[in-house]
Structure formats: C-alpha cells, structure tokens
C-alpha cells in the first residue's frame, strides 16, 4: 500500500512546526508505522538538532531530489524510536535549488518507502512553502493562540484549500491559566475563525525546551502534558483508537490547596 505525505505548516514562524513534526513523527513510529520526517526548510535546517541526530548527517534531501544518492542512504534511523527516520535538509543550498517536478518525483519515492512521511515546511508562503505543499497529500496547520498566528494560518488554509488539500488544525502552546483569565484566545474562537477540523490541542510545556535542547523526543518524556497530547494526535492521525480531544484545563490554586488540606486532615 502507498504511504501518505503530510505537510506540517503554519505560515508564521516560531509556532512549533519543527517540534510538532519531531513529536508526531516519534509518536506515530511508536505505534508501529514506518515514519519519515522530512526537513524541507532548506538552508535553515534544524529538525536534525531537535531530534538529536545532527552528528550523523551524510546525505541530505537535496542529494535525494537531485538523485545524487538513494533515499535509504539519506534517511537516518533514530536509535531510540524504532521505525523513525529523518531526512535532513541541506544547510548550504538555497530554496531555489529544486524545482516542482523534481519534488513530485521525490514525493512518489517517499510514498513507496514509508507509511507516513511528515514534511516540515519552512515559515512563509514563498518558494519553500510551495515546494513542501506540492509533495503533500494531507496537511496539518499549526497555530498558536495569538492573533498574528491565526491571521497567517487563515491565509495558509486558503492557499491549501486552493490546492484542494483540506488541512487539519493543531493548536499549540495553549496556556490554560491565561485562557481561564480571558487573556488568551480560546480554541473555540480560533476554530470559529479558521473553520477546519481540529486535530488536537497542545498546551505550553517547559519540557519542550528541555527536549529540544537535549534531543530526547518529547513523546518519550514522562509526565509531559505536551508529549501526551502529541501521542493522542498521532493516534487520531492513524485513525485508530481515537480518544476525544482534551481541552487543557487550569486547576485553581485555592481549590487544590483546599483539597490537599482536607486530605491532610482526613
């Protein structure tokens, strides 16, 4: 059976595309699928750093596209997560180094080799975005609860719909405390504006920074709310054993204090 190519995009930079790609990729691989994460941010590669694999890069995605090497030579196997492969971006090339036809060929090879390929798209809607989207069958749009991010995501959704790809929405970096206070956009408001299928909600988590710096996949970390959210998102993408979308809730300090106090007496 042919695999699926899923592009992960957002329009705006710094909303967590790369982290999400690495985490969803690892979570999907843990379910037994053969997964490739492809870094299409040519010239500014960093998916390899997030996954802690930068010291093992020999060939990159440009080499595969230009047929300088085989796909297998360029895919780096993750040692901690079975079935997870990274195809790194080139750091020295330019985004104009490849053309659309070559990418379409490359997408065909990816579908043959892997069950699911996650394509990490660069920020912006220029050539890099075009190149990433041309290879994709499905799309995930990442959006943070900020007005600027929603605006860019809306634009990107419009562009994807114009290419007859119906994207799904992943809302990242929710701070439940601020949502409860009314200082942050709630996910209901965002879905109302963007009006696409919601794939999952990921809350702000300090462990993401730790994971990015150490190169340990977020989904392997214990007690990480974001990691668990990415597990559920991967399950939903897989279409099996779909748990309902969990809304991150803020537990009030006073209530918790009261509960622990009562527990102490009891």
């Amino acid at each position: 059976m042919e695999g699926t190519n899923i592009v992960i995009t957002s329009g705006k930079g710094g909303v967590g595309k790369t982290t999400a790609t690495a985490s969803i990729g690892a979570a999907l691989a843990l379910t037994g699928k053969k997964v490739a994460v492809v870094d299409m941010d040519i010239g500014l590669r960093n998916l390899d750093v997030v996954m802690g694999l930068e010291n093992r890069i020999v060939f990159n995605v440009i080499d595969v596209i230009k047929k300088k090497c085989k796909l297998k030579q360029a895919s780096i196997r993750d040692r901690r997560v079975e079935n997870l492969y990274l195809i790194p971006a080139s750091q020295s090339d330019n985004k104009d180094a490849v053309n659309t036809q070559e990418i379409i060929e490359f997408a065909k090879i990816l579908r043959k080799e892997f069950d699911i390929s996650l394509i990490d798209c660069p920020a912006g809607i220029e050539k890099g975005f075009e190149n990433s989207v041309v290879a994709a069958d499905e799309a995930i749009v990442i959006c943070t609860p900020e007005v600027s991010s929603v605006r860019d995501a809306d634009r990107v959704i419009g562009l994807l719909l114009a290419r007859s790809i119906t994207p799904k929405l992943l809302i990242n970096r929710i701070i439940p405390k601020m949502v409860a206070r009314g200082d942050m956009l709630s996910h209901e408001d965002m879905v109302e504006v963007l009006s696409i299928e919601l794939l999952g909600l990921v809350e702000m988590d300090d462990k993401v920074v730790v994971s990015t710096n150490t190169g340990v996949p977020l989904v392997l970390q214990r007690n990480s709310n974001a990691g668990e959210a990415f597990h559920r998102i991967a399950a939903r993408l897989n279409g099996q054993n779909v748990p309902p979308i969990q809304v991150p809730r803020y537990r009030r300090g006073l209530f918790r204090k009261l509960r622990s106090f009562l527990g102490f007496i009891g």
Partner: protein, 248 residues
C-alpha cells in the same frame, strides 16, 4: 487638493467632454431607456437629435419606460413637457423624469410622494439583479471585488477584503475590511450579522473598526454628514421609511 476632490474633478471633466459631442445621451436602464438632455441647447436641436437617434431603435415597444434626465424638473418644466410630448407622440413611450441629485434614503422629505406607474398595480417583477451573491468564507489574503452590490453568505475573516460598487451585505461575521460604494456612491451601506470589521470604507469615507465583543444584533453602517455611523439595524429601521420597494 485631496485625492477625492481630484477624482471628482476628473469625473466632471470627462462629463463635459462627453456632453460637448452630443446634446442627447441615451443609455439602457433596466428594461427601459435613460435619456439625458443638455438643457442649455435649443429645444429644436434637442427634438431633432432625439428623433434622429430614436429612429434607429425601430423596434421600440409601445409603453417602453423612458426616464428623462434634464436636471431639475421644476426649473425646466417647459422643456420636460415639450420633450415628453414629443416622445409620446412620435414613439408612444412611457416618459418619467429623473433629478440629477440622487436621493438619500434616510431623508424622508426627499422621497417622491407618488410611486412610479409600474408599481401601481402593487406587483413588482424584477428579472435582472444588480447584486453579486457569493457563498463561503473569505479568508485572510483573499480579495473580492465587484462593481455591483455584494452579498456574502458566510464570514469575512480578518485580513480579507471585500469591495463593492454598491452595498456590502455579510450574512455572517464581518471581521475583515469592507469597502462599499466604490468609487463614489455615498448612499451605499454595509450590513453584517456580526459587525466587527477591521476597517470600513463607504465611497471616500474611512472608519477604523474597534476591538469590541459581538453586539448580538445585526448592524448597518451608512454615511451621515458627520462621517460613517454604525446603527443597530432593527433600531434605525432605515429602509422602512421608503414608501414602496425600490431598486438600489
């Protein structure tokens, strides 16, 4: 000279050039004709020109509605009578007059007190519409431009722009930029179920939207002497003052 004034100036200039060519202008309007006459020209000139021009319309129906535009009717009552008699006698058409200044709907005293003949039986049959009807969500970065009225069945997201020559009606949430009455139609209005635009423009007037929560009612923006004003649609009841249904 502001940009708007410049534009007005240009338009005026064009008009005078056109009118120099001929004392009579004939335009199709709906199912009838709109005839504009130069009041400064001699009457004999006007009638002969009219006769020559209308001869070419050899299939002119009996009772074709013809609107005669000669500026203010009161001022040129004699001219109107001469021309309409001439038209009725020679071509058997149904003549009506039109004033140059467009009527503002919110001014009740300006409205004509007698309905046009075609409404007298109480039925209004409209076969052609001057409105663009679109369904779907207008997203950020998308732009819709029409010279007629624009009706959108859906939302207009922030970052999107909808522009119309006439009215803009959004049956949904308006959060982007809406432009009505482009370029020069002060009578246009903007209506939305959920009125929270980034910015609105009607003709040359610009108003910035405020970050407000939804008001929960349909709102309408129109041009008043003091600028663009937004009313609750049900409270202002703007169009209830119109005595019979009129084409916009």
């Amino acid at each position: 000279m502001s940009q708007e004034e410049k534009l007005n100036f240009l338009v005026k200039d064009k008009k005078t050039i056109k009118e120099k060519k001929s004392v009579i202008r004939i335009k199709g309007s709906g199912s009838g004709l709109l005839i504009t006459a130069d009041t400064t020209a001699p009457v004999a000139n006007l009638t002969s020109e009219l006769g020559n021009r209308l001869k070419r319309f050899n299939k002119l129906d009996q009772n074709t509605p013809v609107t005669l535009d000669i500026g203010e009717k009161n001022k040129h009552g004699f001219l109107f009578k001469t021309l309409s008699d001439f038209l009725k006698k020679n071509f058997g058409v149904d003549v009506d007059s039109k004033s140059n200044s467009r009527q503002h709907l919110s001014k009740l005293e300006d409205l004509p007190t007698k309905p046009p003949k075609k409404y007298l039986d109480g039925n209004l049959n409209v076969y052609r519409t001057n409105a663009q009807l679109l369904a779907g969500r207008v997203r950020s970065g998308q732009k819709i431009n029409t010279r007629s009225h624009l009706i959108i069945l859906g939302d207009v997201n922030p970052g999107a722009e909808v522009s119309a020559g006439g009215d803009v009606i959004v049956l949904g949430s308006l959060r982007g930029t809406a432009l009505a009455g482009q370029q020069n139609n002060d009578n246009s209005v903007i209506i939305a179920f959920d009125f929270r635009p980034t910015q609105i423009q009607i003709a040359g007037h610009v108003a910035a939207g405020q970050n407000s929560s939804p008001s929960g009612c349909i709102e309408i923006a129109s041009v008043e002497p003091e600028g663009i004003v937004v009313y609750s649609y049900s409270e202002i009841n703007m169009f209830n003052k119109v005595p019979w249904p009129q084409m916009r």
